[in-house]
Symmetry: C2
Subunit: 287 residues, 2 copies
């Protein structure tokens, strides 16, 4: 998918609310700078379930929310505030609301203000232009030296994720792979019940529970980890298999998780706690 395709498809998705399309397309077109990435209907994790925002600029950590009438009952305002505080706390992101019950002039001037703010942020020296090819390319992260959750890193294939950690695979399909540090594994799970595994991730993404659906296999799997004296199996870098918001499959970086030996048991399954949101990358060994 090239940038043209991406932009067309992202803008084509904004059909939920009556004013959403107007606000989202107006911001994107007036900004008129496709070195700035945007995502429509972005999922954001928060302690109480996930929330969806109308437009997200990942380079700036800014979300735009189109507030239609339904947001202005007292209960809704309170709920919005909680939701907003959750997102801000969980991510450090900023949320800007556009109240579309106001006059057309006020809506447009609010949009102008947002566009101006984004243009100023874009002038920051640290700004790194959106490159749709390089963002899925392992070389980008190998050269950067790390993968950080704030950058919303995802790969199109398992092999691309593996190749950020010293591998040189042209194809790889298994859900686990080695890491230069023998105490760490790369893991590519489906974090939902999927037939063989009953996996779950908490809403704040800090805890993953892993358990085989089959009780005998579950028991075996759990004890092989808990009894691993050398703790080779006690840390995992997680790239969760997800559906991207354009319907494509992605392996999204979630962080480094460590086994919580105390909480893990035969009934619950293995309990993994996130211990790092940024991990080092490794070049492929020279021939």
């Amino acid at each position: 998918m090239d940038k043209k395709e991406y932009i067309i498809r992202q803008l084509g998705r904004t059909k939920n609310k009556r004013y959403e399309s107007y606000v989202v397309t107006r911001i994107v077109h007036l900004l008129n700078d496709f070195s700035i990435k945007f995502v429509t209907q972005q999922y954001v994790s928060r302690p109480e379930g996930r929330a969806l925002t109308d437009l997200f600029f990942p380079q700036f950590g800014i979300h735009i929310e189109v507030d239609e009438g339904q947001h202005f009952t007292c209960a809704a305002i309170k709920e919005d505030k909680v939701r907003e505080a959750d997102i801000v706390n969980a991510t450090g992101h900023e949320i800007i609301r556009v109240d579309v019950t106001k006059s057309f002039e006020k809506i447009n001037s609010k949009i102008d203000e947002i566009v101006e703010k984004l243009k100023v942020l874009r002038c920051n020296e640290q700004f790194s232009a959106w490159d749709i090819d390089s963002e899925f390319d392992p070389q980008t992260y190998i050269q950067r030296g790390y993968i950080d959750i704030v950058d919303h890193v995802a790969f199109k294939t398992i092999k691309d994720a593996c190749n950020c950690f010293g591998h040189n695979y042209s194809g790889y399909q298994r859900a686990g792979a080695t890491h230069p540090n023998p105490h760490i594994m790369l893991w590519f799970p489906k974090l939902f019940p999927n037939g063989e595994w009953d996996n779950q991730i908490s809403n704040d993404e800090k805890t993953i529970i892993e358990r085989n659906m089959n009780d005998i296999k579950a028991r075996e799997h759990i004890f092989s980890h808990l009894n691993d004296k050398e703790k080779h199996k006690h840390q995992r870098i997680v790239f969760a298999k997800v559906r991207g918001n354009l319907g494509d499959t992605l392996y999204r970086f979630r962080g480094l998780y460590s086994l919580d030996v105390q909480k893990s048991n035969e009934n619950t399954g293995l309990v993994w706690k996130r211990t790092k949101t940024k991990v080092n990358t490794y070049p492929q060994p020279k021939n």
Copy 2:
């Protein structure tokens, strides 16, 4: 419906083609001038059936067509050419095509070119700013002194149309009304078979056929017109009842039609031929 509502609803309708929303919203937002009216998915009459264009600027008579891949087979190109020539011939309008199979940069620079062209046209001294309230107000046309088909005039009610011709109705529901000239009638027909009347308008809008569904009534109605020696019933100013492209009922000005006595008969019905596309308006008589 105010301008805000109109713009939101018009932009919300562009969901047919994949690139249509991108092109339409980009032109409207970059133009960024709501004194310029636009209509999405505008019907245009042509000799061989009606055609739909993606975006229309009535003040300039300019249509924008988003050309996706399907337009580039030889047969489709030929068909498009015929369709385009038809529209241009029937209306004098210009059609500008945006080829969205081209690169993103080329699409955007084509859009810039269109926006530039519209801005230049807007600087014309003759330009009259879009006023959504006044465009449905009889006073606008009374002051102007005429109603012209090139201005795409439509009213929300029959009384508003009547009041352009000397009436001062606060409500009026009948399909016919008088005109200061006793040889002319105002007519508000449904130009499709509608239970009582089997009416039709030709694709080029130049001919209307009117016939009652009931043969006895049809005969009586036809002969009362054909035998009207003083020809009081031989000319009609037509405002056809139509559904506007936002689903609202409108009475759209079609012109002055004159009875074609030769072609009218008991079997065919009354045949009306358009003889004028511009008619004078009349102020309400002073008390």
